[in-house]
Amino acid sequence: MDQRTGMVNPLLEVRQLAVAFGKSAEQYEVIRNVSFRVEAGRTLSIVGESGSGKSVTSLAILGLIRQAGGRVTQGEIIYSPSGGLLAQDLLKSDEQHLRTIRGSRIAMIFQEPMSSLNPVHTCGQQVAEALMLHKGLGRKAAMAEVVDVFRKVRLPDPEKLISRYPHELSGGQKQRVMIALAISCKPDLLIADEPTTALDVTVQASILELLRELQAETGMGMIFITHDLGVVKHIADDVLVMYRGNPVEQGKVDDVFNNPQHPYTRGLLACRPSINLEKPKLPVMSDFLDDVANPVEVMNSEKVLRSETQTRPQITQVDDAVFSVRELSVAYAGRKSSLFSPKPFFKAVDGISFDVYRGETLGLVGESGCGKTTLGRCMLGLVQAASGSIRFEGSDLLKMESKQIRDFRKRVQLVFQDPYSSLNPRLTVGQAILEPMEVHGLHGNDANRKKKLNWLLERVGLRPEWQHRYPHQFSGGQRQRICIARALAVDPAFLICDESVSALDVSVQAQVLNLLNELKSDLGLTYVFISHDMSVVRYMSDRIMVMNKGRIEEIGEARQVCDEPVSSYTKALIDAIPD
């Protein structure tokens, strides 16, 4: 009880929290004035894009901000434990006391299930460790408890799983192990930091379901951190929207969604392509907010906005197939089970036939491991096909001479997923874009190539004078623009975009998607757009091809595949999207 007001304290109350990084002289605040409360049995969602300070907030609650290199400069974090114990300010507690709370009273799930588990310990050990620490159980008793918890998070075959290593599990299973770890000591508060971002959409749906059930069962409070507004609507009771370290809007989830007050929230809601709506062009953040993080991005997006014709490019000739793929199979060799048994093959792509028509965007969607990336690589000749044929403008890719292949490479280009790792950090942007032109000996001489470089940079919305900068000086969205410029350097007719916007924030994603569409109509390009995100594919594509386990589940007009899916797999995929 709070003596002054006589009201029951919330489970956790954060008041005026500020966190700074860097040495005292040149310290910079990454969050400021953050205040919120979490009630038992309710879920607060903290929403924001990268750099908004949402993860920093959660680490500050756990008292782990020092290890991340930061420092709380101001504020209070009042934690009122269940069972009527005295409220306490976590920021004033010593490390020893915090350790009894961490993992026991307040537990956390992290974003990356792939890397959040220690690779050299078994899953059972890692969960048992927490139980032994906080509940004083012996090894045997702890392991027995782990089996129970694993069953509770619905991991298959828990008795066997406790002796498995993390790398032997799928991503969804690993996240379930993380959840088991977090709930093993029955915490009052669970902090989930982007727990489903790295997972497939159907897996995400099941994990969200599980979290909700666990909450209903235990009555724990939950802080759910995410950038995905669809997920928020699905799971949260209250929302806190953060933007560059500042809380900009706070309220009940329905109020915020139906009547967003702050322009940033409005922008965030609008930027995301939706599976149900068809917009000619995605709004970008600058439509809503004048003070966008990067003034450069604003300049571009505005330019894009003004020059945009409000119609989407239509397919001109449907019978003109650029690519025609027939009975294509790609197989990877597996491990032999014994010395004399034949080598097993895993068919990543299994007898696929389809056409890509000139001027269209073919969306390729499916969950991880469905073979969509392998198929994309194979169409570029980067992966050997086991059987079948790929015809590009009439000639068979699999039978091309090396000279023809070089010519083909000029016509078909790839835009990768991760703009951070697909640019050589030692090459300036100019060098990176000039390189493919030099390799193919385009445009006669250096002066012409430079001219082309300037044109390309301008075309993708970057300043030509930036060509001497290095990739690390650019933001994620700008880097993806550079990657696009590099792909366009050889005047291709065909672009394969492999998860090209998956690593980007929604507001940046919207800009890049708009850019891709604009380039397509201006330069007459044809796209194969590969993504796991049905909404993005729906927005981008004329036709959609759904893949599952190396086969085509469904192929057809975007509208028809999304609104009236024939295959049950497609239906499940669409149903799993939290909207």
């Binding site: 782990l64 991340a68 992290f110 990356e112 890397s115 959040s116 927490a130 620490l133």
Partner: protein, 358 residues
């Protein structure tokens, strides 16, 4: 696991075979007349020819190589009847053997590798190496233990106090340790601890593991081990410090360390329960590499401290152009390298379950 072991074994044997070829060619194209070295400069032509025939120098190079390999190989063909044959089963040369089967005059046998005889002493090279080996192994193992224990310990300290005075001091020491040449460090250490501070330390400047006592005969003198161990261990220690430090720092930034902390584990438990095992793989590689080269390369240290070991034996043999001894020690060292690398690969698989047994 077994298949993994055999694949490593096969590639190891290939390496050894390659070394045999290179060693043989190298020492057979070098100038010098072995017969003269055996007999001295004043020997008559007839004796020289006898020796040349005994060494097989009158045969073409290819036949010499076949004979050499036959002598080396544990599985070989020996003539059991004709005592003038070049592969006559002479127990003076081959020691004891196990006959597998007879083919006419010849027998296929299992035997110890015969590394030929020293030009100088006419002693069996294998026996000479076996005599020197314990000294070298004791020295390198103790140097490596010293380096590993202190190196990993200091490396952890350094990582934990990153940027603090302790860290800077340890880094300074390790950079110094890496940059001092071992022959110089050897002389310095021997002079400082064995001569200047002799009253305090009671250590000798030179000496081997065994020494001859006029009354008791041969006996061990372990205190002689201290100074060479220290000298030999400095460089690996310095490298291990830096490797442990950087590898641990890298691991400490991993997501699973954050998970371990969020569990409420103490910093101590996080480091020793979660970080160290992940951080030690690169350190292990370095240690194994050093072990091989310590076995081979304790040459200077053994020389400076007068330590009886393979290194000293090799240097002495080189000075005398005693090629069989040099060839023998090179071969032995390469076999050691292969064995150590195999052991490390197996250890990797134990430390890190992700290392697939491909």
């Amino acid at each position: 696991m077994i298949r993994f072991f055999f694949s490593r074994l096969v590639s190891g044997l290939l390496v050894v075979a390659g070394v045999v070829v290179v060693v043989f060619l190298l020492f057979n194209v070098l100038p010098g007349d072995p017969a003269r070295m055996v007999l001295g400069q004043r020997a008559d032509l007839a004796s020289v020819e006898v020796i040349n025939r005994e060494l097989g120098r009158d045969l073409p190079l290819a036949s010499q190589f076949v004979l050499y390999v036959n002598d080396l190989s544990p599985v070989s063909v020996l003539n059991v009847v004709d005592s003038t044959s070049r592969v006559y089963a002479d127990s003076g040369k081959y020691g004891s053997w196990l006959t597998v089967t007879y083919i006419g005059e010849h027998a296929v046998v299992l035997k110890y590798p015969f590394l030929r005889r020293s030009y100088q002493t006419r002693e069996n090279v294998g026996a000479m190496l076996m005599d020197a080996l314990p000294g070298t192994i004791v020295l390198s193992v103790s140097a490596l233990l010293f380096a590993a224990i202190f190196g990993i310990g200091l490396g952890i300290l350094s990582a934990l106090y990153k940027g603090k005075v302790a860290d800077r001091f340890i880094l300074f020491l390790s950079v110094t340790g890496m940059s001092v040449p071992s022959f110089f460090a050897g002389i310095l250490v021997a002079w400082l601890f064995g001569y200047v501070m002799n009253d305090w330390t009671g250590l000798e400047m030179t000496g081997s593991l065994t020494e001859i006592d006029p009354f008791d005969g041969s006996r061990y003198k372990w205190s002689n081990l201290i100074l060479p161990t220290l000298t030999l261990g400095i460089r690996p220690l310095s490298v291990i410090v830096q490797l442990t430090r950087s590898s641990l720092l890298e691991v400490m930034a991993q997501d699973y360390i954050r998970t371990a902390r969020a569990k409420g584990l103490s910093e101590w438990a996080v480091i020793f329960g979660h970080a160290l095992q992940n951080a030690l793989n690169p350190v292990l590689t370095a240690i194994s590499g050093w072990f091989g080269s310590l076995l081979a390369g304790a040459v200077f240290i053994e020389y400076v401290f007068g330590w009886k070991g393979v290194g000293k034996l090799t240097v002495d043999a080189l000075e005398m152009y005693d090629f069989p001894v040099v060839m023998g020690s090179v071969l032995m060292v390469s076999v050691f390298f292969v064995l150590i690398n195999m052991a490390v690969d197996m250890l990797y698989a134990r430390l890190d379950p992700r290392v697939k047994m491909e």
